[in-house]
């Protein structure tokens, strides 16, 4: 019998080792969500799914335990799969920090165990390391004054004063009164657990006070698919600057050369955009179009204030800045005084417009396209006018577009500014709204 015991131990160890070798050669599959839904044979199946997180992570107390809830959707099914994690797993995930917390707009791969009920399907997260964040919305700090026409899951920023703060089940909800509009913001309660109390309390406390000036970034979410809001993803992206009033002397644009190194405020027409060595030069002209100054701006500043896709040629603007040269201002702040719609032209017309002109071409067809350099796109388009023009999309814009290179035959709308590069006429698209696929 002693020999039998030894044999039994050997067989057990051998069996487990055999299973190990078979198991490492059989990784867990990634399964489309539609294969899980309403499939009773999938009950208790442990699988990977891959998809987009479609709502802010929510934390609540269920049965005395912390519960983290996220919703994920993939391309296989229009429904969102609710995925839960209870303590201690929920706390473990939250403690890992926001870098590891699946957030709205993130493309994730999750290890889940499925539960199929009569009329709904849900899942449980299995462990913290079974969460892979494959990509998440990000980009430069592009400021918006309102969320109209801003795509869901975009990463945007906004600043202004807090209005109407209220606590909802999902977290702290408030509005920001921006320069020209209102933006709704949600600080999800998941962040209360992901950060220490010492960090959370002052921020949330300040945001709960109407009148607080805040500068924050986050991901756009359409609540109930209709009401857009910015969902703060990281508390580090919430800034509560103490606003130092800067006095800008209001002057006539023609007096700029007399105010070198001074902070001035001018009014003029948005006329052109030029680019050189990493800096954008926005031409502002006097209302009679006789006198021009160039305002140096970063890409993000241009898109925030003078996005060619939404702000048209000859829009009346106020620019606050510092005069650095007789015809040069360094941009500090700005606002739209009288907005004009983007100048919409045919390709043939665009070819005749001068370099720098912001314009828009609609319903043009892609004739060829390619990727060059470090991810820049070159797309030739033709419209009913019969002419063809090159559309250049820099890689910084490509990374924000979230689409793949449009193929010949695709109908697009393009908005940007006119440029000539290497002797070739082109339209440069600098914002993600500047290339829209029609079909």
């Amino acid at each position: 019998m002693g020999l039998l015991r030894v044999l039994a131990v050997i067989l057990v160890i051998g069996g487990v080792v055999g299973v190990y070798y078979a198991a490492v050669k059989s990784p867990m599959p990634i399964v489309p969500i539609k294969d899980l839904e309403n499939n009773i044979l999938m009950n208790y199946a442990t699988v990977y799914i891959e998809g987009i997180v479609t709502s802010p992570p929510r934390v609540d107390i269920s049965g005395g335990k912390l519960r983290l809830t996220i919703y994920v959707r993939d391309n296989s099914s229009p429904t969102e799969l609710p995925i839960y994690a209870y303590d201690p797993l929920a706390s473990e995930i939250l403690k890992q920090g926001v870098d590891k917390l699946p957030f709205i707009g993130d493309r994730v791969r999750l290890l889940i165990q499925v539960r199929v009920r009569e009329d709904y399907t849900y899942a449980y997260l299995q462990d913290a390391r079974g969460i892979y964040i494959l990509s998440r919305p990000s980009g430069e700090r592009v400021y918006v004054d309102s969320l109209v026409n801003i795509a869901q899951y975009s990463y945007v920023c906004s600043k202004g004063t807090v209005r109407n703060p209220r606590n909802v089940s999902a977290g702290l909800l408030f509005d920001i009164r921006t320069a020209t509009g209102t933006v709704t913001v949600l600080v999800p309660n998941a962040l209360y657990y992901a950060y220490s109390n010492e960090l959370v309390r002052p921020i949330v406390g300040n945001l709960s006070l109407p009148g607080t000036y805040v500068d924050l970034c986050g991901v756009v979410y359409y609540y109930r698919e209709t009401s857009p809001e910015i969902v703060v993803r990281e508390l580090e992206e919430v800034r509560l600057p103490v606003v130092q009033p800067v006095l800008f002397t209001v002057i006539d644009i023609r007096d700029v050369p007399n105010y070198i190194n001074k902070d001035v405020s001018i009014t003029g027409l948005f006329y052109a955009i030029y680019y050189s060595a990493g800096t954008y030069y926005v031409e502002i002209r006097s209302t009679d179009e006789a006198f021009a100054v160039n305002v140096t701006m970063s890409r993000a500043q241009v898109i925030s204030l003078l996005n060619p896709a939404t702000v048209g040629w000859k829009t009346l603007v106020r620019i606050n800045g510092t005069v650095t040269a007789p015809s040069m201002l360094r941009y500090v702040a700005g606002e739209i005084l009288e907005k004009k719609d983007p100048l919409t032209v045919t390709v043939a017309d665009a070819l005749s417009h001068p370099v720098g002109r912001p314009l828009r071409i609609v319903n043009a067809t892609v004739t060829s396209s390619s990727t060059v350099g470090a991810g820049n796109w070159r797309i030739y388009i033709r419209d009913a006018s019969g002419s063809t023009i090159l559309v250049f999309v820099p890689s910084s814009t490509v990374s924000e577009l979230g689409i793949s290179l449009p193929q010949p035959g695709t109908v697009v709308d393009v908005a940007g500014y006119r440029e000539v590069y290497g002797g070739e006429q082109e339209v440069v698209v600098i914002s993600r709204e500047g290339l829209v696929i029609r079909g």
Partner: protein
Amino acid sequence: MIVVEYFITVFDVILWGLMGASLGLALSWIPGLHIANLMILVLYATPLFTGGNEYAAPYFALGAVVAFSFMSSIASTYLSVSDESMMLMLFPSQRYLLVGRGHRAVLLYCIGALIGALFLAVFMTTIGVVVMPIIYNLFSPYYWFALLAVVLFMFLSEWPKESDLGRSGLERLWLAWRQILGGLLVFFASGVLGLYATYSGLIKLEVSFARLTPLFIGFFGLPWVLRNIISRRTLPAQDTRHVVETAPSAVINGATSGIIGGGIAAFFPVITGGMGALIGGHMASSRGDDAFLISQGAARTVYYTGALFFLFHPTMRITRGAVAWLVGGLYTPKAWIEFYYGAALIILVAGASLLGTIYMSKAVAKLLTRVSYAKISAVIAVFLVALVYYLTGFNGLILLAAATAVGFAAMVFNTRLSYCLGALILPVLLNITGYTDEALTLLGIR
């Protein structure tokens, strides 16, 4: 009432319930096959319930489960003969069989099963209506504590059977702890296999419902039949008269122990009938072979049937056990009238199953003394292997082989076969304590 009539009628309840009972009675005598496997096979091979029959699914399942709780006594009595040399303690049903009284063991079991079924139906439709939701809400946050406590109790309370053979204190201690260590080996090895089956792609996704089937057949089915083949036992002629030797006190004691044990197992997730019966036996101080057999019948019936019947309770509707999850995915009963239909069906099917089991017992008893026991076991072994292969393919056979080794180890170390439930319990315990991560990394599948 009108709304429910639209969904299901009394006639449907009886028809589908008896159909389920027929399935249970026809197949539950095969050792190592769980009723959940049978239900899955039905749904996988012939999806009867799509196309308007969903409301009948719970009653079909209820009939099958009640029948299974009765008919499974055939397997445990007649088809798990043991050599006393291979086991230091035979189960009472095995002892009865070896002295030609297998049928009496089945009768005692059926007495317990019938009492369990009646108790379940009456309790759940009276006191249970009020009490069970309260008990559920009070205890549900502590399920996993109860599970861990029961598992620890199983280990702590194991009786070392071989220690007497030691000549010195240390040798006796070693012999005793060898058995306990064997139990730990079985528990953790089965737990590891459970983790591999659950968290790897070994089993095809389409049959993930059967991911544990190779393991459970390997733990509980194959070692049984292999042992039957090895022991080459011939059975004495069986006395198939309808006679039992017991006393009212043993019936009460056994039934009480079984009902408590089965109730605990039905209520708490993952805790099985055997584990619940251990607790029930200690609580009710169960003694004697007859009381033990009666308690087994009561425990198994209350456990399997009770677990599914919770799904019918409109204000509780907790889902326990694989059958309930399967059925609940098709249709969950919602109205009180469905609940009461279910209770009535339990009593009806219990009566039918009692008769069916008694006559099956007589038939099997006669068959076993004519046909070679080893041959029957060999046929069953081939069937079980073929079933695993059909459901889960070659990888399933690998799991089956490993699980059979673990079941064999449990036998050889004379330790509790219940430890093989580690395949279910260990992944759950790791999950609720937050150590799944570490375990999967250790096992090389993270």
